[in-house]
Point group: C2
Chain length 466, copies 2
């Protein structure tokens, strides 16, 4: 009979010396079992030593009821550091479950970027109520944080920055850091050198600082061309800077060029994952938050894409309708035509996927757009030829009609050429028009390959076979 | 008339004080113009002050001929730091263009991880020739580096590690770092605390080290549970550790637990981008290196996917062939059937994309697989119902046949249910079988939605309408 002892028995100590405990499926199941039996001691033992990121994952992986149970148990002592690691929907759910005082304490404990992240999901009145309960200076910083646009550098940055003037010696900087130790951020990687107007004039990495002798002057050892990030810079642009130049942290400046915050590599890792994730999901016709969305919201968002594709499919169906006499005469056409459309659609998706990604990673630029199109046409000719040959032979083998086989082969080549062209051109054109190509390209490309596929095949058949 | 002066005239000084020069399309065009006129001074002025990453991008964006010209010009003084930033294919091309002595010097200047990265693309005999020309200790390190599996932690790591014993004081560590300054890596973020067998027992971040007073003992300030990476750990696993725990650097240990190297956040950023990139491209049916591959190689790799889909399309075509009597009797079926298959395909792609990504980000686990499937069925019922309603009405409007409309609607619901099920289940099953779901799922899902789509629609039509 399952009972508290059972829960405890399945628990094995995690984290051998020098190695951390980590979340795995067995642990999630153990916690679920412990929740089922209400064995609080077992739960506490299981999650003890888990990193906040892993506790966040645990909360995400259990069911909503189990999640509510865990948050209820942890309510007073809820670890604020878990919140920034949660997915948006789960975070909003957890935040709503927390008692008001716990939430106020939690927001107070977090660094500014994380705190903004947590409160931005609240309803306006809840958010105001929470802000009112915070000390004035902290409230001001958070209120300002909320005014920055979502997905901008302002939202990503942390306000706590370590600075020094250029005329200080290395010894002076180190003494200052030791004296200010309690006020410094837990982790930082660069000291930003600022002028009297607090404009960044250089950076000194901690590695540089720590290996330089005390009398050296900051001005002489600093990197005098810092990579600066504007407050309103898009997070995608920030991610590009970090990954292009391998930055660990970068100074954020306001319109007057004054230092207002710092963005660190871990914030950017999240952005990079998020942006790539967005592209994948958009290419597949689903929204960013699909996995965690409840059924009805998921269905609603996905339906928009299905609806667009329904339009495309109807247009293709209309094209087929134009040729109903041909199909009535030669029924084999009906069995063959979807092959032309399908392979065209696949080839179009290939060209489109490459173009969408190359645009996102800035590999595809106006400088090499023509070369890219030429390449796609070359690939389309080769693969169109191969598919034409294959399908020509197969069609002949199935229907013993060399004219039908010829029509099939010709339609294949025509459609693969259109697929390559549309696949590469659509994302390029959409990008020029300022439209994100990831979600929008698919519908256009499928429309082209379906319509051209059916039209070329049935049209040629009508011309040559009837 | 374009001439050297023209090239110089289009050059405008980049990099205002405190801001770096960066690569943009205008700069690429200016360089191309200068190459066309052979104006070496203009080229030198244009690329001066460009970061190595940007010079690498420049080399990638110009045509192969222009690339050869630039490398030829830079040959003796070629900046080794450009090499690690180049895409694999371009790098191999550039490496082949460099004189042997330049290449030997370049490999000697790079950090171990970058040097391995550069020489792994060489043909075995060229690689050996190059290794033989290097000093023995360096050669040994590179040779060992090449023995680690590709995409493993061993390949990612740098051998240059900063260590200290636990009993040293902070002051001792700092004095040691200052004395060893010239032998230290340019950038590092953590000091790894090791025991006499060189096993990591903790880490001290530089931020911690620099704000702590000199007499403090390392043991008392170190983080005693370091995140350790095994030499043979897959790079995807390494990336997960870094992004899950926001690591800046991590110690790499061999089978005996001894510290052998360090992986830093910038290496991991590349891996994260690479892995997400791979998933996107694989889902689209193209290889990782598609964009830079020459036409024939691209066509060959893409054809494999098209070939698989041709099989699927033929199977679907065979199903249609089974019902040729029905189509001969009611030609409208031919115009309607692709709609059922297309929308099923789209819905399947949606469910599949979400499942593939949720598996990759470890959001979808055995713990919530059943809940995910239930959700997909719910979404399929809603969207299947909506599509059925829409297409039922449209079919009735077009053919004024309520039985045909009913068949359309029923087939739509059936196919969307199968699409949701196949879309979610296929990636889950493939993952359990140890197969990467990103490249393989699409073919299965399309096969199911095509075959079920045609079969359900034509089968119901045969039963009810004939």
């Amino acid at each position: 009979m399952p009972g508290p002892t059972d829960g405890a028995a399945t628990w094995r100590p995690r984290g051998r010396a020098g190695e951390r405990a980590a979340l795995d499926n067995a642990l999630v199941r153990d916690v679920e079992a412990a929740i089922a039996t209400g064995d609080m001691a077992a739960i506490a033992a299981l999650v003890e030593g888990l990193h906040e990121a892993d506790r966040a994952d645990l909360l995400e992986q259990v069911s909503p009821d189990q999640r509510a149970f865990l948050v209820e148990q942890w309510r007073e002592g809820f670890d604020a550091e878990i919140l920034p690691y949660l997915d948006e929907q789960v975070r909003d759910e957890v935040v709503r479950l927390l008692p008001r005082e716990t939430l106020i304490r939690a927001v107070g404990e977090l660094e500014t970027d994380d705190a903004v992240y947590v409160i931005e999901g609240l309803a306006p009145d809840e958010r105001q109520e929470l802000l009112d309960a915070l000390p004035a200076p902290e409230r001001a910083v958070l209120q300002e944080g909320l005014t920055f646009e979502e997905e901008s550098a302002g939202r990503l940055m942390r306000r706590e920055v370590v600075t020094a003037p250029a005329y200080w010696s290395v010894g002076h900087v180190i003494d200052y850091l030791r004296a200010a130790a309690d006020d410094l951020p837990e982790e930082f990687y660069d000291v930003f050198v600022v002028d009297p107007q607090r404009r960044p004039v250089g950076t000194v990495s901690l590695a540089k600082l720590i290996r330089t002798h005390r009398p050296a002057i900051v001005r002489d050892i600093m990197d005098a061309e810092p990579h600066l990030v504007r407050l309103d810079m898009d997070q995608e642009e920030v991610a590009y800077l970090f990954s292009q130049y391998g930055l660990t942290s970068a100074a954020v400046v306001d319109g007057a060029g004054r230092l207002v915050g710092v963005i660190t590599h871990d914030d950017v890792t999240e952005v990079i994952e998020e942006e790539a994730e967005e592209d994948i999901l958009h290419l597949g016709g689903v929204g960013d938050t699909d996995f965690r969305d409840p059924v009805v919201r998921t269905a609603r968002k996905r339906f928009v894409w299905l609806f667009c594709n329904l339009g495309t499919a109807l247009a293709a169906s209309f094209v087929i309708g134009l040729f109903h006499h041909a199909i009535a005469e030669i029924v084999a056409l009906a069995a063959l035509m979807p092959i032309v459309a399908a392979i065209g659609g696949n080839a179009g998706t290939q060209a489109m996927t490459v173009a969408v990604r190359a645009l996102a990673t800035r590999d595809l630029t106006p400088a090499n757009a023509t070369a890219t199109l030429r390449k796609e046409l070359g690939v389309a000719l080769i693969n169109g030829g191969l598919c034409a040959l294959l399908m020509g032979v197969i069609t002949w083998g199935r229907f013993h009609d060399w004219q039908l086989a010829g029509v099939m082969a010709a339609a294949m080549v025509a459609n693969l050429l259109m697929a390559g062209l549309a696949g590469a051109l659509t994302p390029i054109m959409l990008t020029r028009l300022g439209i994100d190509p990831a979600p929008a390209s698919g519908v256009f490309v499928t429309a082209v390959t379906d319509i051209v596929g059916f039209f070329a095949f049935l049209g040629l058949a009508t011309l040559l076979l009837l």
